[in-house]
């Protein structure tokens, strides 16, 4: 009896204490949850307000003429940003054609082939990181001296070249990290089946981390699509549509900058419109690329 009572007592005491403790814990837990939520909101506020502001100010400028025609005379508020949209697509496309293969292959080397020369790989990684940190205007000046002055004209090729230099370290870094995530057992299994190394790398490692690699490419593309400084030094900007690989072209960030620095309200509205177009373009590009990569890799994994 007594014994039983005692155990009951202990039980109730423990329960009491636990209840007391758990109340504290619950309060603390709720408090922290709310706090974290608040910080998430604070982190989202700038992004949301930027999107809201750009949308509110820019949506009025959008029209068929705005998207497809060249700019009108200075200060007239007529015309559009056709050449800028076209220029951005071509320059970023060409930059990706140069930057993506080089970046991905550099990542493949660092992840798969560098085990035999560790110190070389170490310096490669170091310089890659340094390259990521170089201000884009410096890369722009390099492009101006190396390409614009030697070729004799501002050109789309010079622009694509400097943008690809900004892309390469980002893509290489992300690719290397993603390739490292592929389980070693997969590689071993492939070797066990008698595949040569290049086939293992191509069919198993790269295909398996396709969504990660494409994330890296999307990151790099959206980074360079918004670059202004290196483009001032290389493609100069123009009011004309693309007219050859060795003449100046326009780009959206350049056009936004030019429109924003004009003292006319019509130009400012067009600038907001151009900013909205640039954001939508990058958004569409990243969503499309991501869906493309994911759909394909899930299909692969089911076979």
């Amino acid at each position: 009896m007594i014994k039983d009572n005692r155990t009951k007592d202990y039980k109730s005491i423990i329960q009491e204490r636990v209840a007391k403790n758990s109340f504290k814990r619950k309060v603390f837990n709720n408090f922290m949850t709310v706090l974290l939520f608040v910080f998430v909101i604070i982190a989202i506020i700038p992004l949301a307000s930027i999107l809201f502001e750009v949308f509110k100010n820019g949506v009025g400028a959008l029209s068929f003429e705005f998207l497809f025609s060249p700019p009108g005379a200075f200060g007239s508020g007529e015309g559009g940003i056709g050449p800028a949209i076209q220029g951005t697509l071509i320059v970023v496309g060409l930059a990706s054609l140069i930057g993506a293969p080089v970046g991905v292959l550099a990542g493949v080397y660092l992840s798969e082939y560098s085990s035999s020369s560790r110190s070389f790989a170490y310096f490669l990684r170091l310089f890659n990181d340094v390259l990521t940190g170089i201000p884009s205007i410096v890369i722009g000046i390099t492009g101006y001296i190396a390409l614009v002055l030697t070729l004799g004209s501002f050109s789309i090729m010079a622009g694509a070249f400097v943008l690809s230099i900004i892309m390469i370290p980002i893509i290489a870094r992300v690719s290397e990290e993603t390739l490292k995530l592929v389980p070693n057992t997969l590689r071993e299994a492939a070797y066990g089946l008698g595949l040569p190394k290049w086939k293992v790398v191509w069919h198993i490692v790269i295909k398996g981390s396709k969504s990660g690699i494409s994330t890296g490419i999307v990151l790099a593309v959206s980074r360079v699509a918004g670059e202004t400084a290196p483009l001032i030094m290389t493609i100069l900007g123009t009011s004309l549509f693309f007219s050859g690989f060795n003449s100046p072209v326009d780009a959206l960030p350049l056009r936004i900058w030019r429109l924003a620095s004009q003292p006319y309200p019509e130009a400012h509205e067009q600038g907001w419109g151009a900013a909205l177009v640039l954001i939508l373009l990058i958004l569409a590009l990243s969503v499309a690329l991501r869906m493309f990569a994911q759909k394909r890799s899930t299909f692969k994994s089911t076979t």
């Binding site: 005379a73 200075f74 004209s153 501002f154 100069l236 004009q262 006319y264």
Partner: protein, 364 residues
């Protein structure tokens, strides 16, 4: 399997479209000649109007002009990265020597106005050269300074600090403005001097005429210097400036024209050095004191720039000829002064002397 093929087709067609669009546009433009120029922001509203108007006259020629400032224009012209440069400051002796055989083609005339933004003041202010110099030297710091009050007895000026706005880039407008201040203020001449970019004692910098205009508009109690066209199109207030004869002149097309006719009798020929040409602080009772030519820069033999071929050389020369003759009709409505006949004659002679590989370009 179908899905995979679908995505492949989608990917390939996207790639094909992105490659074909430029090819298509390229073929549409294949017969066209693009003329690339860069330089002064001072005549940009006029040159940009020429771009759209010349399309109607000659649809096969595209004009492309980037307003990067006169300093940039001279640099890109000398580096031969553009087909023509534009500058409101003539090439200095050293720049002229470095360029080799450059010709100056004055393509328009404009005036530099003192634009200000004082919310309380709506009537035009009157200023004299020495007072402007003192403001930009930082010696006059308040809008209600006795020196300004004395010139404007009827205006109630606020007791606010004056913020001066100047150009942050190499600028022909700066050259014209400092050239004027050097003539009217000995102290300015000694401490700051004239040039496309100078050491400003006070004030904030902004890029291009556009940037200065936008800064003045956006900041109360500012004063800065911009080309007349920028002040007119943005409806800014600007000051009447006292000229040599003591009259306060409001900048306008007519008062600039008066200044020009007082000074254009002794112009050099196109291929000579223009470094001493200046029309600031001219004589004449109605002359506005701060005005300037703006120049297009070309090489005497256009083949000096290896990216110019014979077809392009012809297109450039024809465009410039159109600009200095028929193109002048667009000047006045934008606040620029149409070139006087004497200057057009100088230009015609210059254009006739231009060559490509030694052969004259204009045959008639």
């Amino acid at each position: 399997m179908n899905k995979l093929i679908n995505y492949r087709i989608l990917g390939i067609s996207l790639l094909a479209v992105s490659l074909l669009v430029p090819v298509y546009v390229n073929s549409v433009h294949a017969q066209k000649v693009s003329i690339n120029g860069a330089g002064a922001t001072f005549p940009f509203p006029l040159i940009d109007t020429w771009r759209t108007e010349y399309q109607k006259v000659n649809p096969d020629v595209n004009l492309n002009y980037a307003s990067i400032g006169s300093g940039g224009g001279i640099k890109q012209f000398t580096e031969k990265t553009v087909d023509f440069g534009a500058s409101d400051a003539p090439l200095s002796e050293t720049e002229f020597q470095k360029a080799g055989s450059a010709v100056h083609i004055p393509e328009t005339l404009g005036s530099v106005v003192l634009a200000y933004n004082i919310p309380e003041v709506t009537t035009p202010l009157k200023l004299t050269g020495p007072v402007i110099a003192d403001i930009f030297l930082g010696k006059i710091t308040k809008w209600d300074d006795p020196k300004i009050k004395e010139l404007n007895p009827d205006v109630t000026l606020p007791s606010e600090n004056i913020v001066t706005v100047h150009r942050s880039d190499g600028s022909g407008t700066t050259y014209v403005f400092t050239d004027y201040l050097s003539k009217v203020s000995p102290e300015w001449n000694q401490t700051v001097g004239k040039g496309k970019s100078v050491q400003w004692p006070v004030g904030i910098g902004a890029p291009g005429n556009e940037g200065v205009a936008a800064s003045i508009q956006g900041t109360p109690n500012t004063i800065g210097y911009v080309e007349l066209a920028y002040a007119l199109t943005t409806q800014m207030n600007f000051a009447a400036v006292q000229n040599q004869e003591g009259n306060f002149i409001t900048p306008s097309v007519n008062s600039t024209m008066a200044a020009v006719s007082a000074e254009t009798s002794t112009l050099p020929s196109g291929s000579e050095s223009w470094s001493n040409v200046t029309i600031t602080d001219p004589p004449g009772p109605d002359s506005y004191p701060i005005s300037s030519f703006s120049y297009l820069l070309l090489y005497k033999d256009l083949s000096t720039n290896p990216t110019i071929d014979e077809q392009k050389a012809k297109a450039i020369t024809e465009f410039v000829e159109w600009a200095v003759t028929d193109g002048q009709q667009f000047a006045e409505s934008l606040g620029y002064v149409p070139l006087p006949q004497s200057v057009v004659d100088v230009n015609e002679a210059t254009l006739k002397s231009l060559t490509f590989n030694g052969n004259p370009i204009l045959t008639n």
